[in-house]
């Protein structure tokens, strides 16, 4: 089902499609940012994807364009799923999908709060988890895990967490219990 939708989308938006991918029955289409909103609208209005499961964003730090938006579309009867991606440069902003799916409201605010991606046409574009005035975007790759100090008197402050040599990560995929034990990356 979704595979046929990919063909339809490829025909409809020929020049704007960057690539498609199938992995274990999941279908993904990557389109240019300029066509993103039109593709989403087409998915909703013509292909029947009336349910927005999630919006997330990726930070490909060091690459250009740096960010990538990911939309997970589905139908209410759960018959088909489609993932729509679009690369977003650091200075670019994304057209909001709130007028297509109301569910996009908080998801887009989260993408803005955590990643610093701007949305145009959003009815209430402000932070959702951190407070207004927090100066960083904490899920960016160049933001340290331990955090950075900040202070807004009477609102909130943040500090740097002691990592004590961490983060401690496990090596998955090994059968050896000793090697699987979480440890700091450099003390192999």
């Amino acid at each position: 089902m979704s595979a046929e939708d990919l063909d339809v989308l490829k025909k409809e938006f020929a020049a704007e499609v960057i690539g498609t991918k199938e992995f274990r029955g999941e279908h993904t289409i990557t389109v240019s940012l300029a066509a993103l909103y039109d593709v989403l609208a087409y998915c909703k209005n013509s292909l029947g994807y009336n349910f927005l499961l999630d919006i997330s964003s990726l930070d490909h730090f060091g690459d250009d364009p740096r960010f990538e938006m990911v939309y997970e579309l589905a139908t209410v009867d759960d018959k088909k799923h489609l993932r729509v991606k679009a690369p977003v440069g650091e200075e670019e902003s994304v057209k909001s999908a709130v007028d297509l799916w109301l569910a996009a409201d908080w998801h887009e605010r989260e993408a803005y709060d955590m990643m610093g991606i701007n949305f145009t046409g959003h009815p209430n574009m402000k932070r959702i988890l951190m407070w207004e005035g927090y100066p960083f975007f904490p899920l960016r790759k160049d933001f340290p895990l331990a955090g950075r100090p900040s202070d807004m008197p009477d609102v909130a402050f943040t500090g740097v967490a002691p990592l004590e040599g961490g983060p401690f990560v496990t090596s998955c995929g090994t059968d050896d219990v000793v090697r699987r034990e979480p440890r700091a990356r450099d003390q192999k």
């Binding site: 988890l129 951190m130 407070w131 960083f136 904490p138 933001f143 340290p144 895990l145 331990a146 955090g147 950075r148 009477d154 609102v155 909130a156 402050f157 943040t158 500090g159 967490a161 002691p162 990592l163 004590e164 961490g166 983060p167």
Partner: protein
């Protein structure tokens, strides 16, 4: 007036009601009363709060120790049980509730998160509530079992017994007077 053993009268002492007289120190009496009716302020912020609720329920029954009166108004509470992850967004609210509690007041950091930030070594979590308010008892565990919370409260009772009822428990008042 002549009195005999069987017909004795006393001015201010009714032997029928006040059979036993106990002599003690004011400090000890006050501490005894305080420690046996500690009203907790349940600052339930995350998963640990579930265990705190369990501790108050019938299976573990905090009321055996006089601590079942969870007060959601800080002005009526004696001991704040910080149970859960204190995010920076919540931190000043916790501090504010603490500031609204009248003295004498105590604080229990329940669980790894409230004591030290726990597993959340991250930008969003205060690394221990003791960075904002003084903590009397730390309870380890993630989450601590209800028995551990009860043990912590009993530890706090021991602590109260050993402190001076005014000089050590009314510090803010003394500061205001000074």
């Amino acid at each position: 007036m002549e009195t005999t053993d069987t017909n004795q009268t006393f001015a201010a002492y009714d032997s029928k009601i006040e059979g036993n007289v106990i002599i003690t120190k004011v400090d000890a009496a006050m501490n005894w009363m305080r420690k046996n009716s500690m009203w907790p302020m349940p600052m339930g912020l995350a998963c640990c709060a579930i265990e705190m609720m369990a501790a108050a329920c019938s299976r573990f029954d905090l009321s055996r120790f006089g601590m079942e009166v969870m007060r959601f108004s800080p002005r009526q509470a004696d001991v704040m049980i910080v149970s859960g992850t204190v995010t920076y967004k919540m931190a000043l609210a916790v501090k504010r509730v603490w500031d609204q509690m009248p003295e004498p007041k105590w604080c229990i950091a329940m669980g790894a998160c409230a004591s030290s930030g726990g597993m959340y070594r991250s930008y969003a979590v205060l690394q221990g509530i003791d960075r904002l308010i003084p903590v009397d008892v730390y309870i380890s565990g993630c989450p601590p079992r209800p028995e551990a919370l009860i043990e912590g409260l009993l530890k706090l009772q021991r602590k109260i017994e050993g402190t001076d009822a005014v000089m050590e428990q009314k510090k803010e008042l003394l500061e205001d007077l000074a």
